[in-house]
């Protein structure tokens, strides 16, 4: 469960922006939230704004941070895979994430340049936030100081292996994973459950072959996907995947998806490659969405609406809002230019993004705008320009 995320000096983001995925206050009864740790967690958060405003950069930063925590040890390049705001070296990049992991609330902070970590810390919330570890770069000695705090709960013990060598551009967690440090291994596994079509480079289209292999190996999820897609008026009654060995050696395995159509009582199978773009999009999207719904994890989707009818977009959002389809409290964080979901969500669950004249990306929750009430027609107000974050297109 994701509580909040903030980022500064990353790609087009110069000033600090913070996204809230949970908020304090009395228990919300709208069905748009789930309640844990005395917080109202958003089941879905929509990020909206014009083209080129920097929406994807926010999600890239989030994926970068998650990747840094979990996998940075494997990055053998001297540079971390990101750019500062127009190559701004005058200030550090600052990233922060707050999340719930194994029923505890954590905060992780990273201050870095593209080559060096200057500060890294993990905190756990007790009555206040107590650190588990802190790592600080000492410019005098050109070495790190690592402080650890022993906690009484054995499951949150972070131990730092003596023999471990810490690289300037690798996280403590990902390095400790190499030594099978239990807490770090579990935390890495937690972040691996974050699904989606965004990585530190931006939007990455799902690969049909990878997705088909995934379905072939996860029959339960494939069945759920087939059932869901057959209910979406796509003309399909089922989808299945077969494994074939390619000639001449027959050593290479390929996974072929196909849809079943019933016409006049007869069954016809068609390869997914000849189905509509929208059908293929839903097929691949389900490989991220369904595991998230099953595990109660976080799914991050850029351009949810690409190739989809607006009602399909609504349906996908509805899957996360419904207690029946989302009993384990998964969270959907998504960018969409189809804006019908604006009227499905609360003002706390809508993030507006725009760039200013210095091309700096700014982002704010709709709830941070004066005189906005949840009974307003957000879609119509947004389209009129009332809230800002719309493109300023001149006449040609």
């Amino acid at each position: 469960m994701l509580i909040s995320f903030s980022v500064k000096n990353f790609a087009s983001i110069k000033e600090k922006i913070t996204l809230q995925f949970a908020h304090m206050g009395k228990e919300e009864q709208s069905g748009l939230y789930f309640r844990e740790h005395d917080l109202n967690f958003s089941k879905a958060v929509l990020i909206a704004g014009g083209n080129g405003s920097g929406k994807t950069n926010i999600l890239k930063a989030l994926r970068f941070l998650i990747g840094f925590i979990s996998f940075s040890f494997y990055n053998k390049q001297p540079q971390l895979p990101y750019q500062t705001y127009f190559d701004d070296k005058s200030q550090l990049t600052e990233l922060e994430i707050e999340f719930v992991f194994e029923k505890h609330r954590y905060r992780y902070i990273l201050h870095c340049s593209p080559t060096t970590v200057f500060y890294e810390a993990l905190f756990i919330k007790k009555s206040s936030f107590n650190f588990i570890f802190k790592r600080t770069w000492d410019p005098q000695t050109e070495a790190y100081t690592i402080s650890k705090k022993n906690h009484s709960d054995p499951v949150i013990q972070f131990t730092w292996p003596r023999e471990a060598k810490l690289r300037n551009n690798a996280s403590l967690i990902s390095t400790a994973v190499q030594f099978n440090q239990d807490f770090s291994v579990r935390l890495k596994a937690y972040f691996e459950k974050y699904q989606g079509n965004v990585d530190f480079l931006g939007k990455v289209d799902f690969d049909l072959a990878d997705v088909s292999k995934f379905y072939f190996e996860n029959k339960d999820i494939k069945e759920q996907m087939s059932q869901l897609l057959s209910q979406l008026d796509l003309g399909l009654s089922a989808i299945d995947v077969v494994k074939l060995n390619t000639p001449p050696t027959e050593k290479q395995e390929v996974y072929i998806p196909y849809g079943t159509h019933i016409v006049a009582g007869k069954s016809f199978n068609l390869g997914l490659a000849v189905e509509s773009g929208g059908t293929r999009k839903l097929y691949t999207l389900c490989s991220a969405i369904l595991p998230a719904l099953i595990q109660g994890s976080v799914v991050i989707i850029d351009e949810l609406d690409a190739e989809l009818h607006p009602m399909m977009v609504e349906k996908i959002v509805q899957l996360f809002l419904s207690e029946r389809s989302n009993p384990h409290h998964a969270q959907l964080i998504f960018i969409s230019h189809c804006l019908q979901p604006l009227n499905m969500l609360d003002k706390e669950q809508i993030v507006l993004v725009e760039k200013d004249e210095t091309l700096n990306t700014s982002a704010w929750h709709l709830s941070d705008t004066e005189d906005v009430r949840n009974d307003q027609n957000f879609l119509k107000k947004y389209l009129s320009g009332t809230y800002g974050a719309v493109p300023h297109i001149g006449l040609i």
Partner: protein
């Protein structure tokens, strides 16, 4: 991290302006660029409402108006339309029912006549003559009938500011469309 930000964004007043023809929207967009920017709390959408009858222009603007929750809707037309002269009251009522709160008619006669007046050029007695005069006077300056650069060059802010002191309609258009208070 969960502390609420003290800074509050402000909602914008939003105005939709449906403008007749192809040239009119370019001039109104130019005024918009002179008097508003991204940070203005008035956001104006200039909508090229095309040609046809005044009713056609109002209908197109009204459809656009209904798609979003604009604070105010306006139409700008030429003043020399027969139906406008004959049935002004009925047209205004019909527009109001569709959310268009005001129809602004460019005087005297039409857009070209209005613009010639701003440039202190001699105006004519008919729309046809004004359009011809406009083309003749600026034929060497314009690459296409009405290009944005020509408008920006010929109607700089200094000129507009001077003219609005004596041209009440220009002053009214600027105040009505680009200021928050009205």
């Amino acid at each position: 991290m969960l502390a609420k930000s003290n800074y509050k964004h402000k909602s914008n007043i939003t105005k939709l302006v449906g403008v007749e023809g192809e040239d009119g929207p370019i001039f109104i967009e130019h005024l918009k660029n002179l008097y508003t920017n991204r940070k203005s709390l008035v956001q104006v959408t200039v909508y090229p409402a095309g040609g046809g009858s005044v009713q056609d222009i109002i209908n197109r603007t009204a459809k656009k108006f209904a798609m979003a929750d604009y604070s105010q809707g306006f139409c700008i037309i030429d003043d020399d339309r027969d139906e406008w002269k004959r049935w002004q009251g009925k047209i205004k009522n019909d527009a109001t029912e569709k959310g268009i709160q005001e129809i602004i008619a460019l005087q005297p006669i039409c857009l070209e006549c209005f613009l010639l007046g701003l440039l202190n050029e001699k105006t004519c007695n008919s729309s046809k003559d004004c359009k011809s005069a406009f083309k003749r006077i600026f034929k060497t300056e314009r690459k296409v009938d009405f290009d944005n650069q020509f408008i920006a060059r010929r109607f700089p802010k200094q000129l507009i500011e001077q003219q609005r002191k004596k041209n009440q309609l220009l002053d009214y258009i600027i105040k009505t469309l680009f200021e928050r208070g009205i």
